[in-house]
């Protein structure tokens, strides 16, 4: 739902009224730009079919949906499922966990690709740059299962290399996998490990478009490397950063179900259960269709509100929003 930004209309300002009616004008204008509209069609269809029509299914979050009765035949229960969600003893915990993971994503993960891209950009010699780039991209192509499994092997208390090293240097073993305090650091480190390199692509593209003349001029004025980065590179990619930031917010509660689910266990559930994993357990495994739809609905509404908020903010600061 959060992607449901309607394609902006191409309508230019109306010319001063003439003899013809507005309708006729419109028709003429449509006809003149017919190929543009035809090209627009697949996109519009995509959004209608895959984004708007499925919203019909949201009805079941207000029903006691039984598959064999269908949407028409199921009993209407109003807000019962939302009531259940908000009064669920674990609701606050799940919401809190979701928000904290999201905040980690936003404040710890988000700047990493920018810094990494700046560093890559400063590298001399194309060979090293390419080599290094390839290395940092690679983890993106591994699935979460592999990332989490590699982590398990490295940090397990039963012979994992990290714990062995800790013991070797005279420290206590640390229970990375089961200790709730370690869940969030592990989560965000894995996100950085897998995604940071990939995240640099767009920034690097933005940096490549900067006019080299600017740097030259800055050097003439005696600006050092850091000055150049601060006064030229960063301002030049500011638009990119803000756009990506808004898009990231749009995915506010999409924290990667697979990733969290793989890290989740009985010992860290207090901090690791998030909306997505809860929907999976309650909805898909237990078959509570209406209830899980209600949760999903709730999640989308939050996402929508946040996107609108941030968009507004960004316009206030004179940047372009996503709509």
């Amino acid at each position: 739902m959060r992607d449901a930004t309607a394609p902006s209309s191409l309508a230019p300002k109306l010319p001063p009224p003439e003899r013809r009616t507005k309708a006729a004008q419109l028709r003429k204008r449509l006809w003149r730009n017919k190929w543009l509209y035809v090209m627009l069609l697949p996109g519009v269809l995509y959004f209608i079919i895959f984004k708007y029509l499925p919203m019909y299914g949201l009805i079941i979050s207000f029903q006691d949906y039984k598959p064999y009765n269908g949407i028409r035949g199921s009993e209407w229960v109003g807000l019962e499922h939302f009531q259940r969600l908000f009064t669920e003893p674990d609701f606050m915990m799940i919401l809190k966990n979701t928000v904290i993971l999201f905040a980690l994503n936003l404040f710890i993960y988000f700047p990493v690709p920018i810094i990494l891209a700046l560093m890559l950009n400063e590298l001399r010699g194309n060979f090293f740059k390419r080599l290094f780039q390839t290395f940092v991209y690679l983890p993106h192509f591994m699935s979460w299962v592999i990332i989490v499994s590699i982590t398990y092997v490295m940090v397990t208390m039963d012979g994992g290399i990290i714990n062995e090293l800790l013991v070797y240097f005279g420290f206590e073993k640390i229970n990375f996998l089961l200790n709730p305090d370690w869940f969030r650091p592990m989560y965000i480190l894995q996100v950085i490990w897998r995604e940071a390199g990939w995240g640099t692509i767009i920034y690097l593209a933005g940096m490549a478009a900067i006019d080299p003349g600017l740097y030259e001029a800055a050097r003439m004025d005696g600006a050092g490397r850091m000055r150049q980065v601060w006064h030229i590179t960063l301002p030049s990619i500011r638009g990119v950063i803000i756009t990506l930031f808004i898009l990231k917010i749009g995915h506010v509660l999409d924290l990667g179900f697979e990733h969290v689910y793989l890290l989740l266990n009985s010992m860290n559930r207090q901090v690791a259960e998030i909306i997505d994993t809860y929907v999976y357990t309650a909805g898909l495994r237990q078959g509570q269709y209406s209830y899980s739809t209600a949760i999903g609905f709730f999640k989308s509404v939050i996402g929508l509100i946040l996107v609108m908020l941030v968009n507004k903010l960004s316009k206030k600061f004179g940047e372009e929003g996503v709509y």
């Binding site: 064999y68 398990y152 208390m157 996998l177 266990n265 009985s266 010992m267 559930r269 898909l284 495994r285």
Partner: protein, 517 residues
């Protein structure tokens, strides 16, 4: 869409009348018993038009969980179609996410004619829909099929819903669980198989502390366990301690197992094991693969789990790493009171349902049942369970000996193996011919286990609340159990979790089960 399905029905009806007409000229070469069943199905149409043609193969679509990594080639399916005169459309879905697939297919009304569930839990979740009449009741037809009629009544009873039978079951030995352990280590340290839980503890201790692999380093552990209470070590050991099987009776009332003191004793046992380092420290986060690896790499000495029959595969991988390792099985471990007990499954590990949305009428249902009736002949059952004789297995002393090419069997046969209904006693397929002494021992123990078996008293009972919230609620207890073992909560904390379980619906479950008795 509408038109299409109409045409489909028409074709089905047409095909049916041809079959019914052809029925008189008994054209069944193999499995003559099914021919005996079919005339019963023909009452009205019989003799209407005697234009007998060759019987057209029945088309059946089947959805089932896949326990291997890829869908099998058509080797077995082609043979199967020939033997049963069917055209089969097998839809395999990975077992890991099967619930999801099942629920989505159900929600969209696209379950196929033959729907395999995944396990007991999925069955319980479907009960509401079954009661609502979404699936065919097959009880009344069973007597028409001589082979299906052989299915064990006590197990069929466990799968009934409100006293009516809707499903066929895939049989499993009642109690396969036990210990697989390093006999060479035990011999070296002068230990015999543990006769009671204290000796089991001592064995885990000795395997950890006394350097059983003789490399001069303290780098072994006693038990390799994983993040699974039921099919890992916990439930099996809890039964030895005398904990009831899921539910037990106390003062005339049915109560869940975790309200019994023996459950606490079992948790204490595991807590002690973990505190002392006799079990892998991270077992609450260890996957089955990792636990198995720990054992097969020669690091751990005891593997307690859902099936002692796993010894074959464990042995295969272990001797690659430790060539002179010797494994054995054991299950007779007495509790603190000196008594033996083993938990038992209700005799099936999965069931099959026939959705009314896909099976349009009685005649179609009977044709599908006829297919399963043939599946219960030795010829077909062997094909599906063991594969093709000479390729996948050979017969030795009246038993089937699996071929050495395990990968081939895994790829071509295993997916079908898990879908055979009944068990060797009822469908007449070969028992397995074993060469590994530990496996032969396991088979004996499986028979012994049943003699002291504890059934689940709620197996045939019904609880609406359990069907709705059972999985979610069980999670509370599972979490609390691990937290207790890891020392994060104490007994009071565990009691609190039980109170939570009760207040969130557990009390209702207790009520409903007791009322259903």
């Amino acid at each position: 869409m509408k038109k299409q399905s109409f045409i489909l029905i028409l074709t089905a009806l047409l095909a049916l009348s041809v079959v019914l007409a052809g029925c008189g000229s008994a054209n069944n070469k193999k499995g003559g018993n099914s021919a005996a069943a079919e005339p019963a199905a023909t009452t009205a149409d019989n003799g209407a038009n005697p234009t007998a043609e060759a019987e057209k193969p029945t088309e059946i679509t089947i959805m089932l969980p896949l326990n291997t990594s890829e869908t099998p080639p058509d080797t077995i399916k082609a043979e199967l179609e020939k033997l049963t005169n069917t055209k089969l459309n097998y839809q395999f879905f990975p077992a890991d996410t099967y619930e999801e697939k099942l629920n989505t297919a159900f929600a969209t009304g696209s379950l196929p004619q033959v729907t395999y569930l995944k396990n007991q839990t999925t069955f319980i979740q479907m009960k509401e829909a079954i009661k609502d009449g979404q699936f065919w009741e097959i009880g009344p037809y069973l007597s028409e099929f001589p082979n299906l009629n052989k299915l064990k009544p006590e197990i069929l009873n466990n799968t009934k819903v409100e006293g009516k039978l809707y499903s066929l079951y895939i049989g499993r030995p009642l109690a396969r669980q036990g210990i697989i352990y390093r006999k060479d280590w035990a011999d070296k340290l002068g230990l015999s198989a543990p006769a009671n839980v204290d000796e089991l503890f001592e064995m885990a201790k000795a395997f950890t502390e006394q350097d059983p692999d003789g490399n001069g380093q303290k780098d072994t552990i006693g038990i390799a366990d994983r993040n699974e209470l039921v099919y890992g070590a916990f439930k099996t050991v809890s039964a030895w301690f005398g904990t009831p099987n899921n539910w037990g009776e106390k003062d005339g009332q049915l109560l869940p197992e975790f309200m019994f003191p023996q459950y606490i004793d079992t948790m204490d046992f595991f807590k002690k094991l973990r505190d002392n380092g006799y079990i892998n420290q991270d077992f609450a986060a260890t996957s089955k693969t990792d636990a198995v690896n720990m054992f097969t790499s020669g690091k751990a000495g005891l593997y307690i789990g859902g099936s002692m029959q796993d010894i074959d595969s464990l042995n295969k991988d272990l001797i690659k790493n430790v060539p002179d390792a010797v494994l054995d099985t054991h299950s007779m471990v007495a509790g603190p009171d000196g008594k033996f007990a083993q938990w038992m499954i209700p005799g099936y590990n999965n069931i099959i349902l026939f959705p009314k949305s896909a099976v349009k009428d009685e005649a179609e249902l009977k044709k599908i049942l006829a297919f399963f009736d043939k599946m219960m002949t030795p010829e077909v059952a062997n094909l599906m369970y063991w594969g093709i004789e000479g390729t996948h297995y050979t017969v030795v002393e009246g038993k089937a000996k699996a071929a050495d090419n395990k990968e081939l069997i895994e790829r071509e046969v295993k997916p079908f193996k898990d879908s055979v209904i009944g068990e060797p006693e009822t469908n007449g397929m070969y028992e397995s011919y074993n060469t590994l002494p530990g496996r032969i021992h396991a088979e004996e123990l499986i028979k012994e286990n049943v003699k002291v078996g504890v059934p689940d008293p709620t197996a045939a009972l019904d609880s609406q609340t359990y069907a709705e919230k059972g999985v979610e609620l069980q999670q509370l207890i599972t979490d609390a159990t691990y937290q207790y073992i890891y020392g994060q909560i104490d007994k009071a904390g565990f009691e609190k979790a039980i109170e939570q379980w009760k207040s969130r619906g557990g009390s209702k479950i207790i009520e409903e089960y007791n009322a259903a008795r």
